[in-house]
Amino acid sequence: MTTALSPRLTSATAGRVLRQLRHDHRTVAMLLVLPSALLGLLYLLWADVPTPRGQPDTFDRIGLTMLGVFPFVVMFLVTSIAMLRERTSGTLERLLTTPLSRLDLLLGYGTAFGLAAALQAVVTVTIATTAYDLDVAGPLALVVLIAVVDAVLGVALGLLASAFARSEFQAVQFMPVVVLPQFFLCGLLVPRDQLAGWLQAVADVLPLTYAVEALQEVGASPEATGTMWVDVGVVAGAALLALGLAAATLRRRTS
């Protein structure tokens, strides 16, 4: 395994991961349907609650944020288990003896699950804006883009987390560790400017904060804003950083 990138090997790996996914019909069905179903539950939750005058609709605010949170959580889980399987089944060790580079492998995973996330986001956004009347001021394509970048962040952190898990039991428990603090602090539960100073500082270094802010920007303004693009860039940068760290955890020689 080298560090030189090969688009050919990256796409072969992405294709392989997608083929594995395709054989698992139940996982595909859950990937496509679950976020929409959960969003439907949220829709029903607030359907009969009156919105105070002058306040944005609660479901619009929370539903839109969840469009970024779902792909992040789902792809984090799926990827950390998939990578753990590579480690425990011996296929990772085998791949490490082939011309495939570590980054090829990780980018292959990122590409495959990023594509799956794009499909998931299209389904969820379509259902949310039609069946659940989710109001988004900006272009829906941007919502899908942000969902995909969030998914890639989930993939990257999942790949990294799998390095610290010895078993699937441990791997799934990294989900609350990685996801919940980011979810609590992202500004959905309590606006960020109302957080204690040090909590705000923590929120400012967590990537999900920027994903949520990007979605809020799209929700509020009909055109893409500069803030939104900066936010998307921060999330993408965090994903690349996590991929780089994950590559460093892939040791070729083990004892």
Binding site: R16, H23, T97, T98, P99, R253, S255
Partner: protein, 239 residues
């Protein structure tokens, strides 16, 4: 003729335990070299050192003129782990095609490798649905497809029916005749006679590096199992 693999004073620790004790040996090119010894003798560790995934304490391993694990060797060395390392949620053909793609080979090469291990008819089945022996052959096909110069096989014939075993050994020798160097580990001594060269390993120490004929002559027995036992006994008698 320069050796395909040269191991010099190799020491490997696993935790506090020393699993290889200053092992030195060489593997001739274009031959089938058998690495034999009981389970736990350090065979897999030695093979892992040859393919460059084993952390070594001291000593050197040179493969095809380069330090083991060098980046450029990865297209030239094929490795099949003891437990089948293929994707159970892909079909046999999808596995072979993926490893073919990694080696820069095409789909036809993948199909040919599957035919070589007798899995042509099972190509469309999920690996997870195969028997243990079939899974092992699928794993082997994924290494054969790269047509490596050096093929390192860790117990490739475990659990195979006798007929298939004979066929695979014939295939190994055909590969060797075409110039491939093979290192094949086994804990079954009756496979020793099928090798051109024999490395006998016990408790992390190399007992013998010779041809089967040399081993028979040295120990005065035709039975290689007996020969192995007599080497072990000779080792245990204090000099």
């Amino acid at each position: 003729m320069t050796a395909a693999v040269t191991v010099s004073d190799l020491v490997v620790h696993r935790g506090a335990r020393r699993v290889l004790h200053e092992v030195s040996c060489s593997v001739p090119p274009g031959r089938v070299t058998g690495l034999l010894g009981p389970s736990g003798s350090g065979k897999s560790t030695l093979l892992r050192a040859v393919v460059g995934v084993q952390r070594v304490h001291s000593g050197t391993v040179t493969v095809l003129g380069r330090p083991a694990g060098a980046a450029e060797l990865r297209a030239r060395v094929g490795y099949v782990t003891q437990s089948p390392s293929v994707y159970p949620d892909l079909t046999v053909r999808e596995n072979a095609r993926y490893f073919a793609a990694l080696a820069g080979r095409d789909a036809a090469a993948a199909d040919a490798a599957l035919a070589d291990v007798g899995l042509g008819a099972a190509a469309g089945q999920l690996v997870g649905a195969l028997s243990g022996g079939q899974r092992g052959r699928a794993s082997l096909a994924c290494a054969l497809v790269a047509r490596p110069e050096l093929l390192v096989l860790d117990e490739p014939t475990v659990g195979l029916d006798p007929l298939l075993r004979v066929e695979l050994w014939a295939h190994f020798h055909a590969l060797a005749a075409a110039g491939t160097t093979l290192v094949v580990s086994s804990h079954v001594m009756d496979e020793a006679g099928r090798c051109d060269q024999l490395l006998l390993l016990r408790d992390g120490r190399l007992l013998s590096d010779s041809t089967p004929a040399q081993l028979r002559a040295r120990t005065g027995t035709d039975d290689l199992e007996e020969a192995f036992l007599s080497l072990v006994r000779a080792e245990q008698v204090p000099a």
